[in-house]
Structure formats: C-alpha cells, structure tokens
Symmetry: C3
Subunit: 495 residues, 3 copies
C-alpha cells in the first residue's frame, strides 16, 4: 500500500521508522523552574484512580465484555474527533468507514481505513487527538513505533493481535485503567439493561462502579415533533403511564429519576442550545405541552418549554439530590447534508456565543443558594470563563464549573481555563476533570493530559511564589480526584 | 476552637506553623531572563508614591482619624471579595458578620468570624484576594505566620494590639503608604462634609490629597422610582432649587459639578449596564423626565435617559474639564434574595457581554476628538480589549483605557490586559493604575501587585528584544505613576 | 529643530545616539529551550521566498517603476497604522500631511512631518508598527541609529539619498525582497491597466508575479446609492452591457471574474459588516435590485442583498475556481467627521463582535463540502477563534482560516491565533500568512515577524515534547510558504 502525500508535500512519513516515545515531561512548560514542580506534583497524582463522572462510553461494552473488534472499529470509526479532521481535508467519510443512514456503501476493509488515517496522521500535529492516540498506542497497546504510512499495517497487526487476549477485554482494561467510577449518559426512557446486567454480574470490581446519568433532552424538544413523540411514547411504555399532560410528563420524569437513582446515578445531564431558564405558569406550560402533542410547537415554543423544564429539573434535583449538569451552546448538526447522510455526532456540531448571566438568573435566584442543589455548568464559549462563569461560581453556593469541554479539553484549553477561571472562582468552585468521551481506550490518556496540565498550572503558581509546595500538593490532589468525587456526590468507592 | 475541614479534606492548616513570607520575586515569571529585568524595573517603581485616582475609601475614615476597630471589622466584614468566596462554598453571610437590612441577628463575635475565615482560607489559593491579604498582614501589620485555623487567634491578637497604637491611625497609614492623591467616589448630592473636614483640618500632609469624584448614577435611573425620587429631593435640598424639568436637573448637575471641582475633584464616574449613548431632543428628554416624575418610567425609558445623560455629562466635561469615567457592564445584585436581605455590593454583581463600538459612537463622534474632553473607559468583558477598546483608544484622542477592573485586577488579568491592549493602543492610551478599593489597608498591596505585573510584562518585552532597557524604564514609570497623574489631570502634588 | 516632550515627560530621545540593532533572537521566547528551537526553525524559513496572496500594494508602483518619493511620502503619509497612533495622542492629521478631501491646507514640508513622527516615536513601544518600521529602516534602508527627535533629520537624509539609487526602484526592491507572488486588491470594475502594463513589460522576474484580486464590494452596497450607482455605471462601461436587472449584474460579475482570471487572479475578496449569508429567490433579489436602482434601498435591504450576493459569489467560485476571501466585522469610518474631512482608511475602522456559526451556515451547507470551492475566512473578533472558526474549519473541507488580521497581525496576536486555532483545526486548515499591507517596504518586515512567531510557536511545541523536530520542520515550512501557495491555488512560480 503506497503512502499518500498531500498537495503541499506534507506526509506522515517525514522519516520512516521513528520510534514512538512518550517523553516523561511532555506538556510541561520547558522552563525548569515550572517543569520541576510540575513533575513532582504529577508524580503524586499520576497513579491516583480515574474518577469519570461524565462521559459517553457505551455500557454494553462492559455488560457484554466481548473482545473489542479490530483496530479501526475500535479506534477510528466511532471517533468523530478523528474522522472530522480527515473530512476537513477532503477525505470522504465513507472512505474511513463511517456508516451511512441509508446503508449505502462505505469502505469496509479495516486495513484500508487504518492506512488512510495513518497517511493523514500529520494533520493531528499539535492537536489533543494526536496526543491522546499516541498515549493509547504506547501505553494501552504497547506500540513502540510512530503511526505513519510506512508503519500503519505493522501497528494494525500488533493491536489486532492484542485485542484477542483476555487482558484486553473491556472489564480487564477497566480495572487496569484503575477506573474508580464511570458514569455513562443515558436517555431518560432507557431501561438500563446493560447497567442492570453489570450490577447483577459476578464482576466484583466493577459492579458498583458503572452508573448511568439521566438525560431527558429529547423530551423537552417539542418542536421536533417526530423524535419528541417517539420519546414520549417510549416514556409511556417504560412508566406504564399515559402522558397527556405536562403534569403527567413531570410525574413520569420524577419516576424515571428515582429509577436512575436506584441504579446508582448521581447526576442528570441537559444539553440545550442556550442556557435560558424561566418559570412558566402551570397553565402556560400545559398550553405548550398540548401544542407539542398536536405537532404545532414552534422553535419559540420549544425555547420556552426547555427553559421551564430546566427549572423543573432543578426543583427535582433539590428534592432527589441528583447533581444537575448543563451543557449549552452547541449548534448540533450544522451541516444538514451530512446529518441526513450520516446522522448526528459526526464532528459537525459548532459552538455558539453563549449568555449565562441573564439566562441563568431565574434558576440561580430560585435554587442557587439551596444547599441541597448542585449544578455543574459547562461552556464552549471561552469568553464567558472570566466574564460570567467565574463570577457566578464565585457567588452561588450551588454552582460548580465543569472542566474545559470538548474542543477546549486540550493543552492550551486547560491553560486558558485555569488562568481565566481560578483567580475569581478559586479551584474549589470547579468540578475536577471529566473525560467526556465515547472512546473507552482514550480515558487514561485524557486524564493523564489533564493531570499533567493541572500540575503544570500549579507548578507555575509555585514557581512565581503564589502558592507554596504544601498548598500545591493539596490543590493537585483536589483537581485530580477529590473535586470530582465531591461535586458529583459519589459514594466512597469500594475498597 | 477546632479547625474546620471541608468535605474533600482540604484545610487551611496543611501544616501548622508555616511562616508567612513574601518572596522578593513573587508574581514574576520564573524564567530568569524575564525575572531579572522585571526585578530591576520593579526596584525603580516600588517606592514611588501611590496615585489613587479611583476608589471607594470612606472619607470619614480620614476625616475622623479614629482608630480602626478590631481585625474582623477592618479586614473581613466590609470586603465582599472575601465573604463572597466563603458564601460560594456554603458559609452563611450571617456567620461572617455581614449585617442584614432588617437587623436580624448575625454573628457578632469578631473572633469567631476571624476563625471562620481562617478555617476557609485555603479557598483563596491562587486568588488576588489571597495575595493582597498576605501582603497586608505581612507589610502593614507585621504578621510573620500564615493565616490558618491554628494561627487565627494569635494573628487576631497581634493585629488587634497594633490597631490601638498611633502608627495605625488612618492618617498615619495614609502617610506611611505614601499616598500622593486619593480620590473617593461620592454621590452627586453629597455635601462632602468629610472632605470639608479634611481640607479644613490641621493635617498638612493630607489636606490637598483626599478629593471626591462626582457620581450621579442614581439621578439617571428613572425606572427605579423610589430611589430616584429620593435622590432628586436630596438634590433639591443641596442646591436649594426646585427640580421639575430636565433643564432644572441639568442646571443642578452643573452646579454640583462646580461644587465638586471646588473641593478638588478632577473626575466624574458613571456606572451603567450598557455603554449606550444617544442624544435626545430636548422635548424627548423632557418627556422622559416627566414620566420619571410621575413614576411611569420604564426600563426602556431609563435606557434612553441614561444614554442622553451620558451625552450631557460629556458635554459638561468639555466645559468644566472634569475627566469622565465610564464603568459599564455589571448586572448588579444578580441574587435578588441576597439583595433584599443584605443590600448591594455583596459579591453578587455579575458581568455582561458588553458592546462599545456602536454604543459609544454617538458620544465619541461628538466629543472624542475634542482636546478639552477626556474619557476613561473600563470593561468587565475582556473579549473587548483587543476587539473594540484598543482600536477605539488607538484612534480617539479623548479616550484612555482604564486599568483591568474588578475581577480582572489580578495577576493573570493584568497579563491579559497588557497583552491584548498594548500592541494596538500602545501604553500611552491607557490610564495607569486604579486600586478601586474600599479596603483602605489593601491599597499598597494592590499597587504593589500591579507594579510587579507591569514590570514583569515590560520585562518580557526586554527579554524578547522588543524594547530596550532605557525605554523599559520610561514605560515602567509611566505605568506606575505618570499616566495616572496625567490622565486624571492631577495637580502637581504638594512637596 | 527642538525635540518634543509629552505631558508626562516621555520622549523618543531617552538617550541620544542609541544604535539601531535588530537582535537575532527578537520576538522569540527567552526560555532557551524554546528559543533555540525557534531559532533553528526560523533559520530554515527566513530565506524562503515571500508569498503574498492578499494585500493592498498599489500596482502602479510596479507598473511605473518610478523612484519612490522622499521618506515621509513613502513611509508616513500613506500609513494609517502610524498616523492613527499620533492622532490618538492629539496630533492633528493635517500636521503629518494627511491630505484632506476638500484640499484644505496640510503640512507639506516632509522634514517637518518626519520630525513630528520621530518626536512621538515612543508611542510605538511594544507595537508591531514599531517593530516593522525598525526592520524597514535597518534592513531595507541600512539605517544604524534609532529614530528619535535627535536622529530624525540624519535618518531622513540617509533614506532620501538611497531612494534616488536604482537599487531602490520598486521592481528592484520586489526582487530583492524575493517576492514569489504578489496579489493586489482591485475593484471589480477596474480594467487593470497597471497589471496589463506589468504583464506586457520586459520585467522578466515580475511579469507573472503581480496578480489582481477581484473585489466587488461596492456593487453589493445598495443602500449607499451614490457610490453604488457610480460603480454600476462603471461596470456598464467596462462590460459594454446595460445593467438593469439582477441577472444582468450577475452576468457582468461573471464576465469580470473571467477577465480577472485572464490577468492571473486566483482569488476574490469580500468585505462585509457581518458574514450573513442567505439565498434569496430570483424574484426577491430582483425586487431589491430595482429598489437599489430607484435609490430606495435601505440598510436592511442591503443586508439581504449582500447575503445573497455572497451566495452567488460562492456559486461562481465553484464554477470558475477563484478562491473566495471573506473579511467581515469592521465598522468602517467610525468617526464621521474624520471620514468627511479625510476620507476612508484613516485608522478609524473599529471591529465589531462577529457571529459566524449561524451566519455562514447557508453558504457552508450549500458549498462547504464542494471540492471545487475554497473559502478563506478572516476575523477581527478573536473570541471566535476557538469558539466558531476552528470548529468550522475543522469540519468543512472548503474552509481555510486566514492568518491573524489587521490589529491582530502582531507578536501577541500571532500567539493567540496559533494557541486558539491549532488544537481544533490543526495547521493544515489555515491559509499561511498574508501581509495585507499597502506599505510596500514593510512586506519583508511583516513576513519576518510572522515567520519568527510561527517558529517560536512550533518551538514551544517541541520544547514541550508535543511534536518532534522532524515534524516541526515540516510545519514551519508549511506555515511560511506552502499553505499560502496551496490555499490560494497559486501556479508553480517561474524558476
């Protein structure tokens, strides 16, 4: 298989046969005064367990514990971080095996897919995806040569072979990764069969460690009639209730929250285009619900309904103690043709400027000082870190800021987050780290990068005599595990 | 008194008995090429007098010159930077002695309050409040052990004792701090009795150094009828004029400005939610005024009226030479329940995204090129530094950018300001430093941090061969004192 | 001639007779681990040819090849980067020779103008203009003393003398600068006589290297009736067609694009206040066109028409292959009085917050995945780098991000761009460097600063073990020349 060279002569095979080496000091500032402290702090956090309170791992992986398929199906085809970059440079999604909605043909030879990604691997220079995959290859799969056009097939073979051995079964990796707790993200109507199976399995290490999170978004999107109706019907089935009023919807949601709680959930999650919150009168809410039922709800109706339902979800969190996560500001499926051809989550979700100060005021005024309430707030709009989010989190007791999200979960993104949030909010109004990934094998890589960057940021504080080494150690441990555990109200893990 | 430990096991007493030490190179980059230049520049500015053209010190302090009360009343209870952080972590405001509006009970034992703050002092790691208080304790009060649960009462005793001695009287500290000029912020209807008393006192050092600033905001907020009416009545009393028309209001304002000028004022100050400016016809302005009188003015009316009055204030500044400060973009009292229970300025003011380019165009088109006009513009929205503020200040002769404001008056905030403003506006379109504080004892700490960060920024320019050492010295002095003096049209200080 | 001193005692002559020296490591981080790599990478790119795909050089310079006039007319009077800074500090535009629209008197003695700029040269400390002019004086004109009040006239003499020699003729400098390709920016109705003259000249080096770019903005600004009508009439003349319908306008535009193609153009350029795109029905577009003809088009009409015409331009780019550049977000001529007195491009264009995600969706949905389409997108709103632009460029194959534009083409601006764009978009979705200048002699200085900063950024990646040195070399060359060549579809340059 010949290697590809792009139009400007760049290629992944700058020089064949380069070893894959993860430098012990990678990502740390090169200034020795910072690097040495960062290294010392990182040494204290690197081997701490991985606390994973928000992510998108498919629980069936751990329920079935079947061997992972071959390398492309494991590492490439489900990872929109990877195929979106190839797509941005003109590689057709079909050519890296991304399945189409209508079942039309895509590349099915995993070796061709793997080679194609390797040929274009230079695109990931300086990106977190590049860093994460290098970590996965090296630390999870023991690969010792760099991925490029020349090495692609050898590396494919090496991984493929390993995937057949028991140490690479999902549960074995889960234990090897030292995952303390892993929360998945699940539809409100999900009966959680995979979680059920894990909990009733003989897997003693993992039984209490894989928990669901309650995500009811579809039930609030009343302007998307077909999807909404389908979800309401599923909710009727799973609750055995008829849902013909807003009150009935709220009752069913409360019931489902109880079910999720019984399955170990500690949190809900909510994705909205804007974080608008507003309390409607019961009559107004009912009117919107009826318009939804009749298929007449407009986007403006949906905006009001979502705002109202966020208030209801906060109210229920006060009652049942589930931590409320809010992920606003993504315009999903920006590329309509791609959405129609390939479906959602294909790397075409684009952030929007997001307003928090006015939008969250109703919710925070009503619940933000309630000691039973806890909200974890995320953003894709970094301009809000210092302007809105840190001042809000530095005031309201219920509010914690989630870690840098999605595009910003990176070396420089972490730096901007710490520098722009911490002086106003302190670190104790932040929620620790989330890996937020559906790529199971990337979990250790993501925590490692975050721990390195946190150690490096604190190292910079020590090197500038802003905090001393004793405080620094406390802070590093808080960022690595303690804040995540406490924010998400995780139980003490099994010994 | 037992020390507190928070839910994740962090506490202020990581190790008891740690000495409090302010490192000579604190806040400087650890890279020696930068640090050495920064240190040399700072050595040249550290002992320059403190020029304080904008702040919120209570002038009665210096008029009465009474001993400061005990440590909690001096350093904790009035400082919303401190109690907001404790509040954000669930400490009740009452428990740190913040007085309620209805007089309901709050903690009154200052030692308990002091202990509580000490117990939670770890929250301030990496924050400017933490750095400022360390500086105050060390340099103003001679404390040599770190504040924590263990040391709290000893430090309380040490400060309490010092506060009884003559060297810690307000005027003595004012002189010891080497304050060259201190501008307070005062209501337009204030008869300035404390300033009168200072000016007619025998305090030779301070008589000419404590000046008021003219802040008429309440008179422009016509939608807040009760507060507005009260302020208008106070204006009638203080001017002995009946104010039943917009023209009468303008006349009274002009008269008050003359009074403030006679008391040494060189500036006005204006706080608005958005920096919208627009010239109304006299008839339209009058119509709004009459709606205000009758209690019918809406928020939309107020927006127009404020926009118009900013234009009038600029016009008067051209006439009387008072420098016009504009502080836009804060949504005050975001937490309604807290506002009702505790009042304003309790750490619940949250910034908004702010637009300057279109909003200020009417004002800058009319007055921005007038050599008699001077405007100092502030922001809480750092995204405007490079996008709007630096280009505006790099064009309009009347415009100077105020220093990083409020949340952004910090180590990283200063860095972002210099890096994002200076390449387009240069340093000479900036206004030097403001401490902007109501915490009198924090004034030296705030100037020291700013001088260190300015020296460090210039040190980075020298280390990268962007400016040479001769220019760097000139720049450091300009940022430390000269730009503030010149921007605010301060008289040459008494020898 | 006496030197000037500003009100705070700062002057350009801190110390007379300082040598002008460009440090070999200027702009690089002072940390040796970064600096040493940066220097090594820069050594590999510093002598590569200059690829100039977007700028505003007057083609008559190279068509006529007349000697440049004296120093002030060459370096000061046409450079709004320089005179806007003096204006911001109260220097009248007339006093630095900026011509008025009505022909009223301005300073005409070039030595007085030159001295005035030198007197105020301290204003440019820490600015890119300061760095660029130092480079021009040193490298282009061989000046070896720093510009200040004392040296001004000596330096004037030195440059004036050089300008008379053949090596300083425009074409000689073009060759000395090693310009590989220079695209100018030209009105859609321009018959390109200067380009014609260059192409038919005996100048073998430059004949194929000076190309036009197609900029039809005025034809889309239907609310500015006088300017629009004049441009439409010019279009009628140059195409010998009557333009009385929108279809006729589109035909004429297509014809002009063919003419520009025949003259070597590879790109179009579009300046709009907001990047709004929307497809109108032919009937709606025609209705707007007729309102324009009758002088009744409103700003709202123009907004729709521009949105529609951007769609048409994208469609034509798919057909004819011209790369489409989009420069949105500047509020031109913010200072109305200055615009009336001096005209456009006088340093009073102020950026606006800019929205891309929603605005560009129609255009990118229709053309963004078309392999024949290429769009280069710019911004003046740095908050969009990580929020909108990098995610868009990291998805749509047709999209490339232009380099930091205008105010942001600076040392810190380059750093922010690389740090905020690269982790999401990678470097291969960026367009390399544009000098974007009308100051011909500043071209090498601007490329040099960009190459240094790019080398320094990559140096930081190497020093932190994010990329290795082999990849770093590849990346540095891509940023210096290859990405610009490929993005703008430049032909292989003549040997």
């Amino acid at each position: 298989m010949a290697s590809a060279v792009n139009p400007i002569g760049q290629s992944s095979t700058v020089m064949a046969g380069r070893p894959l080496h993860l430098h012990a000091d990678r990502f740390f500032d090169s200034d020795p005064a910072i690097r040495n402290v960062a290294r010392a702090l990182y040494e204290e956090t690197r081997d701490l367990p991985l606390v994973c309170p928000h992510g998108h791992v498919d629980p069936s992986l751990l329920a079935e514990n079947a061997p992972f398929p071959e390398p492309s199906a494991l590492l490439i085809i489900p990872d929109h971080y990877i195929f979106r970059m190839l797509h941005s440079q003109g590689v057709r999604m079909e050519d890296v095996g991304v399945p189409t909605r209508d079942g039309s043909a895509v590349e099915t030879d995993p070796r061709i897919i793997w080679q194609r990604v390797a040929d274009f691997w230079y695109l990931f220079r300086g990106t977190p995806s590049g860093a994460w995959l290098a970590h996965e290859l090296h630390d999870v799969f023991g690969v010792r040569e760099r991925l490029d056009s020349d090495s692609a097939q050898r590396i494919y073979d090496e991984i493929a072979e390993k995937l057949t051995s028991p140490e690479f079964l999902p549960r074995a990796l889960f234990e090897q990764f030292r995952i303390e707790m892993l929360a998945t993200t699940d539809s409100a109507v999900d009966s959680l069969p995979h979680h059920q199976k894990i909990r009733s399995s003989s897997w003693s290490y993992g039984r209490q460690r894989v928990i669901p999170s309650f995500r009811p978004d579809t039930l609030f999107r009343i302007a998307q009639h077909a999807a909404w109706s389908k979800e309401v019907r599923a909710l009727e089935v799973v609750t055995s209730e008829s849902i013909t009023s807003c009150d009935a919807l709220l009752s069913a949601l409360a019931e489902r929250r109880q079910f999720f709680l019984s399955m170990g959930a500690t949190a809900t999650d909510h994705g909205v285009m804007e974080p608008y919150t507003a309390e409607l009168s019961p009559a107004d809410a009912e009117r919107l619900f009826q318009r939804a039922l009749s298929g007449e709800a407009t986007p403006a109706d949906q905006r009001q309904f979502e705002a109202h339902m966020l208030m209801q979800m906060a109210r229920m969190s006060v009652e049942d103690g589930l931590v409320m996560q809010l992920h606003p500001g993504s315009l999903r499926d920006h590329n309509q043709a791609m959405f129609e051809h390939f479906g959602p989550d294909k790397g075409a979700d684009i952030p929007l400027a997001t307003e928090y100060t006015r939008n969250l005021r109703p919710l925070l005024n009503r619940f933000g000082s309630n000691p039973r309430f806890r909200m974890v707030l995320f953003t894709l709009d970094e301009s809000t870190y210092s302007r809105e989010l840190a001042p809000l989190a530095g005031h309201y007791p219920a509010l914690r800021l989630g870690p840098p999200w999605w595009f910003h979960d990176s070396i420089e993104g972490n730096r901007r987050y710490r520098e722009q949030v911490s002086e106003t909010a302190g670190i104790y109004n932040t929620a620790g780290f989330n890996d937020d990934t559906r790529a199971f094998c990337s979990i250790p890589a993501r925590h490692d990068l975050a721990r390195r960057m946190d150690a490096n940021w604190i190292g910079g504080l020590v090197a500038r005599h802003i905090v001393d080494m004793d405080d620094a150690r406390d802070m590093a441990r808080a960022l690595a595990v303690d804040l995540a555990r406490e924010t998400y109200r995780f139980p003490t893990p099994p010994a």
